[in-house]
C-alpha cells in the first residue's frame, strides 16, 4: 500500500487528495426551496386553500357591512364602514316566528341537546365496544353485525316510527326525546370505533387484569379507560359536530321554542317576508358553524391520532 502510494506521481496524489475534500456530493442532499416540485406542490395547495377560503371571506366581509353597502353588489370588496350591528341582531334580535330573541335561544337549545347526547352516547358505546372486544359473550358477533347494519339504514325510514314511539312514551317534542334519538343513532358508528380500538389493545393486558382479580367494570374503568384518551376525543368530536349540525331530527322531534340552532338558522335565513338581510344571515351562519369549527381547531392532532388508532383494523 505504502509502495503503491510512493510510486504515484504528485499529480495523481493531488487528484486523490482533492477527491477527499468537499467538492463532490457529500452529506445531506441539498434541497432548494424553489424547486419545480415545491412550486407545483405549494402552488396547488395555495390555490385549493384560496378556493375553499373564499366563501368564508365573503361571509365575514358581508356580515361586517351595512345593508346600503351590500346593495352596491361588490361582494368581494372589504367593508368601507365596519359595523357589528348584524352580529348583534343575529344573536339577540332576529325573528323566527313569534320569538324575536335571535339565535341565542337556538344556541342554548343546541347546547342542552348536544351535551347530554354526547355524554350518553359515548358512555354507552364505549362500554359496548369494550364488551364486544374483550368479553366475547355468546352471540357477540351476531350482535355486532346487526349493529353495523344499523349504520347503513337511512334515517328517513325510521323517522315516523320514532315519532310514534316518542309520542306513546310521552316525550315527543321534548329535548329528552331528541337526546335519546341522537344517542341511539350514534350507537353503531361509535360502538364500531370503540370496539376496534379496544381490540387493538394487547389481549394479555386484559388477561393480566383478570388474574389480578379485576372484574368487568374494574378492568374498564381502571385499565382500559385511562389508555383510551385518543379514541374518546375522536368520539367526542364526531358526536359534537354531528349532533350540533343535525337538522333533520331537530326539526322533526322538537317544537318551535325548543328548536336547535340549525333549525332556527334555517328559519331566519329562509324567511320569505320583508327584506333579505344578507349581513344578518351571514353573521348567523358563522355563529352556528363556530362550535364545530372550534372543536376541530382545538383537538386536531388528537383527532388524527385517534382516527389512525381506532378506525383501521376490522
Amino acid at each position: 500500500m505504502a509502495e503503491a502510494a510512493a510510486s504515484m506521481s504528485s499529480d495523481a496524489l493531488r487528484r486523490e487528495a482533492s477527491s477527499r475534500d468537499a467538492s463532490g456530493p457529500s452529506g445531506t442532499k441539498p434541497r432548494h426551496a424553489l424547486s419545480r416540485r415545491n412550486i407545483f406542490l405549494y402552488g396547488t395547495l395555495i390555490v385549493v386553500a384560496l378556493y375553499y377560503l373564499l366563501p368564508l371571506y365573503v361571509m365575514i366581509v358581508t356580515s361586517l357591512k351595512g345593508m346600503p353597502e351590500i346593495r352596491l353588489g361588490n361582494i368581494f370588496s372589504p367593508p368601507l364602514e365596519i359595523t357589528f350591528e348584524p352580529w348583534v341582531k343575529a344573536w339577540s334580535q332576529a325573528c323566527t316566528g313569534l320569538n324575536c330573541d335571535g339565535l341565542s335561544r337556538g344556541f342554548w337549545n343546541s347546547v342542552r341537546i348536544t351535551v347530554p347526547s354526547v355524554l350518553l352516547s359515548i358512555a354507552i358505546a364505549s362500554v359496548n365496544g369494550y364488551a364486544l372486544a374483550n368479553w366475547r359473550f355468546k352471540g357477540a358477533d351476531t350482535f355486532f353485525i346487526i349493529l353495523i347494519v344499523g349504520a347503513f339504514i337511512p334515517y328517513q325510514v325510521m323517522i315516523y316510527p320514532i315519532v310514534i314511539i316518542l309520542r306513546e312514551i310521552g316525550i315527543y317534542g321534548t329535548l329528552t326525546g331528541l337526546v335519546i334519538v341522537h344517542s341511539i343513532f350514534g350507537m353503531p358508528i361509535l360502538t364500531l370505533l370503540f370496539r376496534n380500538y379496544f381490540t387493538s389493545m394487547p389481549e394479555e393486558l386484559f388477561r393480566a387484569a383478570r388474574v389480578d382479580g379485576a372484574g368487568f367494570w374494574g378492568i374498564y374503568l381502571r385499565i382500559m379507560l385511562p389508555m383510551s384518551l385518543p379514541i374518546f376525543v375522536v368520539a367526542i368530536i364526531l358526536q359534537v359536530t354531528g349532533i350540533w349540525n343535525d337538522f333533520l331530527f331537530g326539526v322533526v322531534y322538537t317544537r318551535p321554542d325548543t328548536y336547535p340552532m340549525t333549525v332556527q338558522l334555517n328559519n331566519i335565513v329562509n324567511s320569505v317576508q320583508g327584506v333579505k338581510e344578507y349581513n344578518v344571515n351571514m353573521a348567523a351562519t358563522i355563529l352556528t358553524g363556530l362550535v364545530p369549527l372550534i372543536v376541530y381547531f382545538v383537538s386536531g392532532k388528537l383527532f388524527v391520532r385517534g382516527i389512525a388508532a381506532g378506525a383501521v383494523k376490522g
Binding site: E204, R207, V211, D212
Partner: protein, 368 residues
C-alpha cells in the same frame, strides 16, 4: 408414565378443549407435585399456552376438571385459583407506575395498605427493582419489565406461578440472565411453577420435569435427562437437542442378538435396552443417535460399533465443530472439539455405543 403423585399441587384430569369442531386439547392428564418446576415444551400451536390459560382460568374448558391445592377450581375465576401469571409481552399497565402495577391486584382485593407496602417491599427486594418503583413501564428496559411482571405475580402470595413464554421477547443475553434468576427464584420460594416455552434450553435448564406437547397431547412427561436420553417417540427425539438427533432409516433383524441394518451397515444391538421384548420383532425402523454421542478418530476404536466414512461438510460453531458425513448412505452429523482440524473429503473413523441410541418403529414412530 410417571407414578401418581400423592398430594399434587396442580392436578388436571381428563381436560379437553374444543374451539367449535377443532379439538385443541385432548383428554389431557397432568399432576404437578408441590414445589415442582414443570415446563410445557412444544412447537407453536401445540396447545401449551392454551393449557396454561386453562389452568389460569382465562379459557373455559370443554371437559374435565382442574384441581389446585386439592380444591376443584374448574369453574372458579382466575383470581380465586391462587395463581400468579407472567406473560410474554409483560402486560404491564402502561398508565401506572411500577409500584401501582405491583399493587393493583392487592388493591382490587382490598388488602390493607400496610400489608400491600410490606409485600411490595419484599417483592422489590427479591427482584431488585426497588429503584424502579416510581417509574412508568415505558421507562423500563425489556428485562426490567419482565422482572416487574414477575413481581406482580410474586406480591399476590400465590401457590402456583404460571409463566407464558416469559423470556421470548428478550435478547439472547438477557434471556440467559433471567433464566438463571427464575431458577434462583424457584429455589428461594419453593413454589409450584408451570412454565411454557418453545425453547429447549430453557426447558432443560429449568425443569424438574418436562412435558413435551404436540397436537394437544402430552407426548412425554419426565425428567429432562430421561427425555433427552430416552425419548418415547421420534417427535420428542427430534425436538430436543441441538444440533438435532440423526435418524437413519433401516430395518431390524430379529434373532437372539438383534441387529439394525441399513444399506451396507449393520449395528449390533446387544447393548441396546429395548422398552419391551415385543420390540425385538423384525420390522422397518429408524435408528436415532445424537451428534454428541458419536466418537471420532482414536476414541471411536473403543466403541462397540465403528465405521469408515468421509467428511462432507464442516460447520465450526465456536465452542465445538459439527461435522457432516454419511453412514449407510444417509446423512449423519457429529460433534468434535473445535481444535480438531478436519476438511471436506478427509477419510475418518467414527463409532458409537448403541446403548446410547434410540430405536423407533418406522410406522408408529414410537420407541422400541
Amino acid at each position: 408414565m410417571a407414578a401418581a403423585i400423592a398430594n399434587p399441587s396442580v392436578s388436571i384430569q381428563d381436560l379437553s378443549l374444543n374451539f367449535g369442531v377443532m379439538s385443541v386439547l385432548k383428554t389431557l392428564n397432568l399432576d404437578v407435585a408441590e414445589g415442582e418446576f414443570i415446563v410445557l415444551l412444544g412447537p407453536s400451536g401445540c396447545g401449551k399456552s392454551t393449557l396454561l390459560n386453562c389452568i389460569a382460568g382465562l379459557l373455559d374448558i370443554s371437559e374435565g376438571r382442574i384441581f389446585i391445592k386439592g380444591k376443584n377450581v374448574t369453574w372458579e375465576e382466575p383470581k380465586d385459583r391462587g395463581i400468579g401469571m407472567v406473560f410474554q409481552s409483560y402486560a404491564l399497565y402502561p398508565q401506572m407506575t411500577v409500584e401501582k402495577n405491583l399493587s393493583f391486584g392487592l388493591r382490587v382485593a382490598g388488602v390493607p395498605k400496610d400489608e400491600i407496602a410490606k409485600r411490595i417491599a419484599r417483592a422489590a427486594e427479591i427482584l431488585q427493582i426497588e429503584p424502579l418503583l416510581q417509574r412508568k413501564p415505558s421507562a423500563l428496559s425489556g428485562g426490567q419489565r419482565q422482572r416487574v411482571a414477575i413481581g406482580r405475580a410474586l406480591v399476590r402470595d400465590v401457590d402456583v406461578f404460571l409463566f407464558d413464554e416469559p423470556l421470548s421477547n428478550l435478547d439472547a443475553k438477557l434471556r440467559s440472565e433471567l433464566r438463571v434468576e427464575i431458577k434462583l427464584l424457584h429455589r428461594r420460594l419453593q413454589n409450584t411453577m408451570i412454565y411454557v416455552t418453545h425453547d429447549q434450553i430453557e426447558a432443560m435448564t429449568l425443569a424438574d420435569r418436562i412435558a413435551v406437547m404436540k397436537g394437544g397431547v402430552i407426548q412425554q412427561l419426565d425428567a429432562p435427562q430421561t427425555i433427552y436420553n430416552r425419548p418415547v417417540n421420534r417427535f420428542v427425539a427430534g425436538f430436543l437437542g441441538s444440533p438435532a438427533m440423526n435418524f437413519i432409516k433401516g430395518h431390524l433383524e430379529a434373532s437372539d442378538a438383534p441387529v439394525f441394518k441399513a444399506d451396507g451397515v449393520s449395528v449390533p444391538l446387544g447393548r441396546y435396552q429395548f422398552d419391551n421384548e415385543g420390540g425385538r420383532a423384525a420390522k422397518p425402523c429408524v435408528f436415532g443417535i445424537r451428534p454428541e454421542h458419536i466418537a471420532f478418530g482414536e476414541a471411536a476404536r473403543a466403541m462397540p460399533f465403528t465405521a469408515e466414512s468421509t467428511v462432507e461438510i464442516v460447520d465450526p460453531m465456536g465452542s465445538d465443530t459439527l461435522v457432516w458425513t454419511k453412514l449407510g448412505g444417509q446423512i449423519l452429523s457429529f460433534r468434535v472439539e473445535a481444535d480438531k482440524t478436519l476438511r471436506s473429503g478427509d477419510a475418518i473413523r467414527i463409532g458409537f455405543d448403541p446403548a446410547r441410541a434410540s430405536l423407533f418403529d418406522a410406522e408408529t414412530d414410537s420407541r422400541l
